[in-house]
Every structure is written in structure tokens, then in C-alpha cells.
């Protein structure tokens, strides 16, 4: 395609001067504009504007990557999940609830020294008492009641929170562990919120 355009352009040199509106690559233009028109502020430095490999694939494919690429990259993401040294994946659900409530962190107005929140209720229904929940993600109410809390389920839940892209490459959900937003302990507490039979999520 590109070659055809180049050939056509060479064959008719006078066309080169015309704006190539029909075939303009708006995505590269957008990236050039983004690179030029942002400034660092607070902890939000300019390196955040660069796509990593996964973001580039999702951006280039409209969040619908070919299956063979998605599978390989999901496996890479999964391989990067860091598990606690003691192997325990369930923490304290009460702490998990606090983390799920907090949307703090990573914006240019946030103090980088403070712990980051999980933003969970922004997008998910979780414990029934909290009725102010978002709907970008699925409902997590009764997450553990429906799945149990076997070692396998714990590992899945921990991994999903650590890096949602390990299971769905272009998921809207942030990669909380991978991004360095949530600590191992925080992820464990969130696992407990979802899986502990005592958590209100599973009552």
C-alpha cells in the first residue's frame, strides 16, 4: 500500500506538493502533536507519553490485536507477575476495602510519597454496602462465593489485579502491580476482599 503511494507520487511529481489528505496518517500526526504539546507537571513526567509495546499494539489495532499476537504478549505479561516470597496470596479484606475505595495516585496533583489506591469502585461493583460504584468493569459482587478460594483461584485473582493484560491484552483495567502502583501487600488485601469468605463481597 505504502509502496503504491510512493510509486504513484514518483510517477507524478507535481502531486507531492498537494496535501495528502486522503491517505494522511492521522495516528502519526496525533503522536507528533502529543509529543510537542505536553509539559511535565508534578510526578507526571513526559516519559508517560511514550507507548510501551503493549500500548502500541492496542493503539494500532483499535484494541483488537490478532489472536496470535495477543496470546504471545499475554503470556509475557503473565510471566512478569511478582508473587509474595512467602506464597501467601490472601491478606486482610478490611484493608482491601480501603484500598478499593481510594482513587488516589499518579496524577500530577497527587503527592508521590503517599500510597496509591486501587480505584476499584470507580469501575466495579464490589461489596454491597457501597452503592456508588462504576460500571466500566464487571460486577465483582460474590466473586469468591461463585468461584471458591482454592489456590488456583487465588493465583488467578492476584495475577489479574497485578496485571489485567495477562488475561486480556487490551483490557481497560490498569496493570496495578506491573505499573508499580499497588504493592504486593495491597494486592493481597484486595485478593482477600474478593475471596475471603468473611468479606462482605461473599456474604
Amino acid at each position: 500500500m505504502t509502496k503504491t503511494i510512493l510509486l504513484a507520487a514518483m510517477a507524478t511529481p507535481f502531486l507531492i506538493a498537494l496535501p495528502a489528505a486522503a491517505d494522511a496518517d492521522y495516528r502519526s500526526q496525533a503522536i507528533a502533536v502529543i509529543k510537542k504539546d505536553f509539559q511535565p507537571r508534578g510526578q507526571a513526567s513526559l516519559d508517560r507519553l511514550a507507548e510501551d509495546g503493549l500500548q502500541a499494539i492496542c493503539n494500532r489495532t483499535g484494541n483488537k490485536p490478532p489472536k496470535y499476537i495477543a496470546e504471545r504478549m499475554e503470556a509475557d505479561q503473565l510471566a512478569g507477575v511478582k508473587f509474595p516470597a512467602d506464597g501467601k496470596l490472601m491478606g486482610d479484606w478490611k484493608e482491601g476495602e480501603k484500598i478499593a475505595q481510594s482513587g488516589r495516585g499518579f496524577t500530577w496533583t497527587d503527592n508521590p510519597g503517599l500510597p496509591v489506591g486501587g480505584n476499584c469502585y470507580n469501575c466495579h461493583q464490589i461489596a454491597p454496602k457501597e452503592t456508588s460504584f462504576g460500571t466500566i468493569g464487571t460486577s465483582l459482587y460474590q466473586f469468591g462465593k461463585l468461584r471458591g478460594n482454592s489456590a488456583e483461584i487465588q493465583k488467578y485473582t492476584y495475577s489479574k489485579i497485578w496485571n489485567a493484560k495477562a488475561f486480556n491484552l487490551c483490557s481497560e483495567m490498569p496493570r496495578f502491580g506491573h505499573a508499580g502502583a499497588l504493592t504486593e501487600k495491597q494486592v493481597k488485601d484486595l485478593v482477600a476482599l474478593l475471596l475471603d469468605p468473611e468479606s462482605p463481597v461473599n456474604k
Binding site: 496525533a30 505536553f38 500500548q55 499518579f106
Partner: protein, 285 residues
């Protein structure tokens, strides 16, 4: 005439105090009511309140101040915007100018939204320094920049007019298409783009409904009410400010003031709202 305005301003200022109290009312309801319903009721109450206040809202205070600024000789060159600034409808003409921007301005060789264009006039015609304006371009609780008042004044002169971004102009169309790509660009620690929240139908963050900016209806709800008087803090804020706050929550760095990036995004959003009626500067929670 002047006295009338002052009288109106005083009345509005008093009402402004009432506005500041209003949003707290729903929270004082008995806690026994299920929270989801209480919040929905709060939303309804706010919508009703906003509808009632539309004819005399606090934004008019800022419009009045903007009018004064528009007509006064100011800046190192000591000229008024009224006698030098062309917002696309001819020098000094402001009726309907706001709803017909962003548009391409040959003298600046750029696609400009209303705020960007007024800044350009302040710099090129009046001789103000861009960096001075960009130092504190948006209002806070104790300070409202001149540019905010000017934008509000100009926007007020498009009240009840239809949005008509000239998308047939190839330069504007290019800005629109580039803006559409900026809205889809995922990056940063959380992999967010504008579209993460504003690209699909019927989603919420907490209880806040998220407009889908790719549809005419969704785009209009992203345009309506800006510039807006935000009752939290009592601050008058522009559409440019809103764009920046989205990027903040997206965990991106800050977009530069009056930049191409913001003009292109606004072209995409406002262009998608074409044909719908803009109600003028509004009230925000």
C-alpha cells in the same frame, strides 16, 4: 445602564452565595435511604436546580466582566479586542462566533478554539506576552484570569445557537481526524486514553455518567455548560480547563495551554456535536 449592571451583579452575588449552599442539601438527607437512590435523587435535584437557574446564572457575572475587558483599550499596544480581534465572523463581531469554533484562521495558520483565538488576539493585537497569560490561565478560588472572563463573554453571545464547526474546511477536518486519534491514544502508567471513559455508551465512574464523545448526543453533553461556573469552590472554568483535567485523571502530563493538541481534541468533540443547540455558559457541580 451601568447602575443596572451593578445592581444585577449585586443580586447575582447574593444568589451566588445561595448556589454555593445548594449542593450540600442532598447530603443532609436521612442516611436510611439507600445510597444509590439518594445519589440519583441528588442528580435529579441538581438538574432541576440548574434548569431553574439557567436564565440568571452566576456565569453572567463573568460575562459582564468579559464585556468590559473586550471593549477596553488594553495591553502594550493600547487597543481593544472589539476593534482588532476577528473570531471568524469579522473584526469585533462576536454573535455566534463561539459555536462556529474551532475553525481555521489563516492569519495564525492554525485551527483554534475560542479560548486559543482570544489569547492569540491578546498577544498579536494587544501585545500581551503569551507566557504571562499561560502562567496562570485558569481560575482558582481567589483568582479569575481575564481570558476566562473574555471566553465567557464570547460564549454568552452564542447562547441558544446551533453548534456549527466548519468540518468541510480541509484544515478543520484534518484537526478533527487528528483529535480523534489523540482521543484514542492509550499511554501512561494506567494505559488510559480519553476513550477509556468516553468512548462507549452507558458507562459510569462511581455514580457519574460518562458521555460517549463519539456520538452527537454524548459530544453535546461534553460541550454543554462550558465555560461553566463550578459550584464546588465557586470557580468559573473553561472548556480548555476541562480538557486538562481529563488528562490529569488519565495520569498524563499536562497539555500545554492553548496548544494544537487541545484545539484538535475540541475540534473532534465540538464537531461531533454539530447541529445541536448550545445553551451558553453554564453551571457545573
Amino acid at each position: 445602564m451601568k447602575q443596572n449592571i451593578i445592581g444585577a451583579l449585586c443580586a447575582l452575588a447574593v444568589m451566588g452565595g445561595a448556589f454555593a449552599q445548594a449542593p450540600k442539601k442532598p447530603a443532609a438527607k436521612p442516611a436510611a435511604a439507600p445510597a444509590a437512590e439518594a445519589k440519583d435523587a441528588a442528580t435529579l435535584e441538581f438538574e432541576k436546580f440548574r434548569a431553574e437557574m439557567e436564565d440568571s446564572n452566576p456565569a453572567e457575572l463573568f460575562e459582564a466582566k468579559g464585556q468590559e475587558l473586550w471593549k477596553s483599550k488594553r495591553g502594550p499596544k493600547n487597543v481593544s479586542l472589539a476593534e482588532t480581534c476577528d473570531l471568524g465572523q469579522g473584526v469585533g463581531k462576536i454573535d455566534g462566533a463561539y459555536v462556529k469554533m474551532p475553525r481555521y484562521f489563516a492569519d495564525a495558520d492554525a485551527v483554534m478554539d475560542a479560548e486559543r483565538r482570544i489569547v492569540w488576539c491578546m498577544v498579536e493585537k494587544q501585545g500581551f506576552k503569551f507566557d504571562d497569560i499561560a502562567k496562570q490561565p485558569f481560575a482558582n478560588e481567589t483568582f479569575t484570569p481575564d481570558i476566562t472572563n473574555l471566553v465567557t463573554y464570547v460564549a454568552g453571545h452564542s447562547r441558544n445557537m446551533k453548534i456549527a464547526v466548519p468540518l468541510n474546511d480541509p484544515k478543520v477536518r484534518e484537526a478533527y481526524e487528528t483529535g480523534k486519534e489523540i482521543a484514542a491514544y492509550r499511554a501512561g502508567p494506567y494505559d488510559f486514553s480519553c476513550n477509556t471513559c468516553h468512548g462507549v455508551e452507558g458507562k459510569r465512574i462511581r455514580m457519574q455518567n460518562l458521555p460517549n464523545l463519539s456520538t452527537p448526543k454524548g459530544a453535546m453533553s461534553g460541550v454543554q455548560g462550558w465555560p461553566g461556573y463550578r459550584m464546588t469552590g465557586g470557580v468559573m472554568l473553561t472548556h480548555q480547563w476541562r480538557m486538562g483535567d481529563c488528562f490529569r485523571q488519565q495520569r498524563f502530563p499536562q497539555p500545554k495551554y492553548a496548544s494544537d493538541a487541545i484545539a484538535y481534541l475540541l475540534t473532534y468533540m465540538i464537531g461531533n456535536a454539530n447541529g445541536q443547540v448550545y445553551k451558553g455558559p453554564g453551571i457545573k457541580r
